[in-house]
Each structure stands twice: as C-alpha cells, then as structure tokens.
Amino acid sequence: MGKRVEDLIILANRQINQGFFLLEAKSLIGLPVILPGQFLQVRVDNAPQTFLRRPLSVHDVNYERDSVSLLVQVLGEGTRMLSGLKPGDTLNVIYPLGNSFTLPGKGERVMLAGGGCGMAPLLYLGRKARECGAEVSVALGFRNSSRILDFSEFRKIGEVFIATEDGTEGTRGFITDIPAFRESNWDRIYCCGPEPMMKSIAKAAGERDIFCEVSLENLMACGIGACLCCVVNTSEGHVCTCTEGPVFNIRTLLW
C-alpha cells in the first residue's frame, strides 16, 4: 500500500463550531485506498512555528469526488493556519499513514465513542462498519452543549448518544455514564478522544471483556516510522504509534 506525498486541493472549509473546522481536500490524481483510522501528515506552510508536519485523521472519504475530509480543532499555530485555508488552496500531505481499525463482522453491535475532536476518525470507520453489516451506535462526549459538534453525519449511520460534562444536553457526565454505553452488551467499542477519556472507556471495556480499539494521538515528527519519537508502551515494548498504530487494541497497551 503505497504512501505518497501529494498536493491536495481544498474544496471546502467550513467552521462547525468555535475552533472546529471541517476541511475537504481533493486529490487531482485520484485517491489511494484509505482505511478507517488512517491519517495524513499535513504540511503547514508559511509559519516558523510549524516546522514539522501535523498529523490529522481521515474523517471521511469520498471516492466519487476523490476527496478526504478532515475535522480540525484549532489548538496552536498549525491548526490555526489550516483553519484559514480557502477553496483552491493546496494542502501538501503524506498519506495514507498508519494502521486501521479492525472492521466488525456482520451483525455485530459496535459502539463508536468519541470525545470532542476524537470524533474525527470515527465517521469513516462507522460508514465502513455499516458496509460490513454491523449495527452501529455512536456515543459522543462534550464539555457542554455549546461545544457539541455537528453530528448529523453520524446520525446517518446509527443512533447517537450524547454526554455533556455539565448536563446541558444528553447524559450528565462522561460517555461512560451514558446508560446505553453501560447497559448494552457491545461486541466492539472503538474510541478516540482525550487520553483520560480513552483510558476510562478502555477500563470499562476491559472489565466487561469487550473488544476495544483506541486511536492514539501521540506527538509525531515523521509519521512514517523513521524517527521513533511517537512511541507508546505496549506489551511488546515501545512501538511506533505512526506505523503500529495509531489504532491499538487496549489489550496491548500498558495503560
């Protein structure tokens, strides 16, 4: 599966909440095969603070338009520059990178659990899981109702449960407090979000012996396995998040 460096062309850039942007970028030479959970290393031009590329998950893929969608949360200079991209601008990327989520079997009941920007890799995964014949539910956690990101696309693939820390919408608390999360017997849980959230979901899944994969966001320099900066501690020692991950089964992680 060939990785490549390519100039994508921005098709659209839409703010979906304060500090969150949805970018769509097109390949002029045709998209490669992209698996759910994979990511891109995006070059941020023209800022001295952004020497290295920025890793961003594939949020969605549209083979008809040869486009990928990226869900970007503005944290620092790099993401701020990306949020200013306009249709027609180029976006230099290395992709597709990393491993991918293990797809579910037909009829399996799967839960996608995402916190804030952790929603990013779950949409494309959800679509693929549906194609596999799985029954998909989605649990999303946010700080409060004003921070909720547009999840209409998730609605199309399954039931969506919301938790807000202050209870202003959905369940008060965290994803692990959502009744459907606690009660139903999921075959698989896929998770991406802030580390404390992933850890608590991993714990809950572990206790109930549910298959669970998380997508990590370790700091990366190269994204292609060359620098060994992005390691996570696993039962097999230090492994690279960018090549062995970003998706890990929680059993292998020494959390």
Binding site: R4, L52, I224, A226, H238
Partner: protein, 303 residues
C-alpha cells in the same frame, strides 16, 4: 558532464549525499517515496550490542526551525539486526552504513566486531556524540581522552571504512577531528545534535521525558557549518557535513565550507524525498557553475 562520485576512506559513493542516522529508519520507510539506492549511502539507525527500549515518551518537541529529540537509541540489538534487518537492507544497491553505539568501550568493540563480519556493511559510523543516553554516547565525544580511547579500540578491530561522528557540544570540535585522524579514522561526520531543552509553561514541566534532548534542523545549520569549516581546516581526512540541510543549496553551503559529503537528517521527516532532491540539486549547481565534480568546490570559498 558532472561526475558526482566521491571517495570516503575505502568507500566509493555514487554521490555525496547520505542519510543521517536515526532519521531514515532502515531505509525501507522511504521505499514508497523514492529509490533509496540512488543515494550515496544510507546510514541506518543507531545500533547497540544489546536491545534498548530507548527513553520514555514524550521524546520530541518542536522548536523554532528545529526539533528536539530524546529517542535514546531505541533498537533491537545486534542479534536482531543480523538476522532480521541485515538481509533486508542488503538488497540496496548503495552503501549501507551502521551507526555504532555503546555505553562503554567494550560495547563498542564487541558490536564493531560483529558488524565487521557483515559483508554488505562497508563502513561504520562511530557515534561518540549521542546526547540522549545516560551512559556513554556524548560523554565519550566531549572528552578528548575517552574519545581517543574509544576510537583507538574500534579502529584496532575494524579494517573497513571508519567514520567518527563528532559532538558539537564541545569548546573546540576541530580538536576531536584531529584526534580521530590521529587514531586512524577514515573520515569524521558532524554535527550530531546540540543539547537543548524546552519547557511546557502550562504544565510547568520539561517537554521531553529526559529534560534535555538533541536539537536538529535548520536552527543548527549556522553552528554546524562553522564546525565543519573549523574541522575541515584542521584535518586532512574527509569531513561529512550534517546539520539542518533542507535542500541542495544548504548542502552546497556545507561542501563549500569543506565537507566532502553531506547527510540529510530531520529534513526527511518534513519532505521524505529531500535526500534525492539534494542529489539532483548539487548536480545542477555544479553544472550551472562550470564544475565537474563535488571535489571542485570542497572548501572552495574566497576568504
């Protein structure tokens, strides 16, 4: 016509461009992007006799025009290298060089002996300048006595091309170049990373698990160039220039400063094709300016 080939010790390179250790994996990571065999040499990951897990995460921090790393020589040791990696990298039709590390002289010597037996490894780069390990590494490369000892011990057991990689964290790097030459090294390469630090002011903790780490990238280029210039004036063996090379112009700067060859490091993270572009760019520069080989411009500046 431009002939890019250069000689470093007993080694013939098809062009003066190599990859810097620790920034190019074992080469395979770049197979998708270009024909790795088109480079003058590939210097693979820092290798130790025993396997090493390296330092804890986080190991990386971005800095203005550069980065800090604290990888700490994570590698699976020489046994694994011999059985799993060596067969794979032997396929490259260029020089594959191993970066040799140790915590004490015996380590270095034992590892070197093992590598000497590997037919397809025509040279080693003796790393006495790794700032990211508690024992050995930079401690050797910043002390003239121990630097001499380790170079001598390794030279004693190694007959192929020996490149010694120098630490920039010293008062007078040329002195270490001279020692390497006196002890029979075939070449010196410089610079390894500058010892640096970064602090997360929100968390009030160092950004690296090891507090300090090695600075690389364009930020260090002026220092690296100066050190190459100083060392090239002091020694007669070839100097290999490293530090912040992002494109062919940067590489030409190093050659003009006195480097016979160059290594591309951190740049490969940002643009995986950099090393190959540098090869092309050097050829163009030579052609454009009426030179026939890199040797024509080594150290060729008007002072």
């Amino acid at each position: 016509m431009v002939d890019l080939s250069v000689k470093i010790g007993k080694l013939v390179l098809k062009n003066p461009v190599m990859t810097a250790s620790g920034t190019f994996g074992y080469g395979a990571e770049f197979d998708d992007f270009f024909d790795v065999s088109s480079l003058g040499a590939i210097i693979v990951k820092g290798t130790t006799f025993e396997p090493r897990e390296g330092n804890p995460y986080p190991r990386m921090a971005e800095t203005p025009s550069g980065m800090l790393n604290a990888v700490g020589l994570q590698n699976k040791g020489i046994d694994y290298f011999e059985t799993k990696i060596y067969p794979v990298i032997s396929r490259y039709e260029t020089n594959v060089i191993v970066n040799v590390n140790g915590s004490n002289i015996d380590d270095y010597v034992q590892l070197t002996k093992r590598i000497e037996k590997l037919e397809n490894i025509p040279a080693i780069e003796l790393n006495i300048s790794c700032p990211n390990v508690k024992m050995g590494g930079m401690a050797f490369g910043t002390n003239t006595v121990s630097a001499r000892e380790v170079i001598r011990a390794v030279r004693d057991v190694y007959s192929r091309t020996l490149i010694v990689k120098l630490s920039p964290n010293v008062t007078n790097i040329a002195e270490f170049g001279v020692i390497a030459q006196e002890e029979g090294a075939d070449a010196v390469s410089l610079i390894n990373t500058l010892l640096g630090m970064a602090i997360d002011i929100k968390e009030r903790r160092p950004k690296l698990s090891t507090v300090t780490g090695g600075l690389s990238g364009p930020a260090v280029k002026p220092v690296a160039l100066r050190m190459v210039w100083q060392t090239a004036k002091a020694v007669s063996i070839p100097v290999i220039g490293i530090g912040g090379i992002m494109n062919a112009d940067d590489a030409v700067e190093f050659i003009l400063a006195g480097a016979s060859a160059v290594q591309v490091g951190t740049a490969s993270f940002i643009n995986p094709v950099t090393a190959s572009e540098v090869v092309k760019g050097i050829a163009e520069y030579l052609q454009l300016n009426g030179f026939h080989s890199p040797g024509d411009i080594v150290g060729n500046i008007k002072i």
